[in-house]
Symmetry: C2
Subunit: 159 residues, 2 copies
Amino acid sequence: MSFSIRQAIKTDMSRVLELIVELAVFEKEPDAVKVTVKDLEKGGFEVPKQFVCFVAECDGIIEGIALVYNRFSTWKGSVLHLEDLVISQKQRGSGMGTALLNEVVKYGYSLGVRRVSWEVLDWNTPAIKFYEKKGADVKRDWYVVHMNEKAIENYLENI
Amino acid sequence: MSFSIRQAIKTDMSRVLELIVELAVFEKEPDAVKVTVKDLEKGGFEVPKQFVCFVAECDGIIEGIALVYNRFSTWKGSVLHLEDLVISQKQRGSGMGTALLNEVVKYGYSLGVRRVSWEVLDWNTPAIKFYEKKGADVKRDWYVVHMNEKAIENYLENI
């Protein structure tokens, strides 16, 4: 099955959200997605743009996405962060993930960043193996820390 | 010892870099800092601004910094990321870390973000305990992945 890669346009965002939710279900957090199509349309297409999204299309249907944005590392300066790389269930193993990752790394290189970063779940062994095969460094000694809405409110009440 | 918190100005960046390097030494990566004062001046004070920096000052000397920027979570939308929170060796235990974290959480709340995030080393138990006491969720099941400059070049050569 052949597919093509392009940058997303605003009207792609409802399908992009479907794939984001598909990944959240796979990651065992089906209720975690609070983002709306409107948030995605604003974030990706209104100034200041908060991300760039690449899509992989097969027979006119988007079956994969890679969503990236810049971060500022105090060690490396400007870096590119891959927030989500999602391939629909039926397209896994088709080479779409590799094609999207290629696009992301090429894009990072074109921006002159000193690093492309992302996060992966510790039990997602196929993804970890894939990333390590591609030369990425899976840093098992760093934890991700989240303070969510409720915790932010509690925190501020207790200052 | 009393201190005050304010947003950094451009001329603070050389002292900010000193504290960034101090943290890298503490984190056992003394050679990892490739960023320059010029990178920090550009990133923090030229459009598009890539971060906001808060500083804690004691007797006219900056002894602590918190550097933040926005990210776009595909689950939560716009979130605030705390890239670095550094307190100079001699000011640890003075309450400066708490004061800077307070400022960061207040800033995130003022922006209306649904999350404040950061990263922590797994062996930095005092920091982990501090963050958990403050209501943050230390996610031990997520790994951070880095593809650095050399790996990016190797990757692109092998596409």
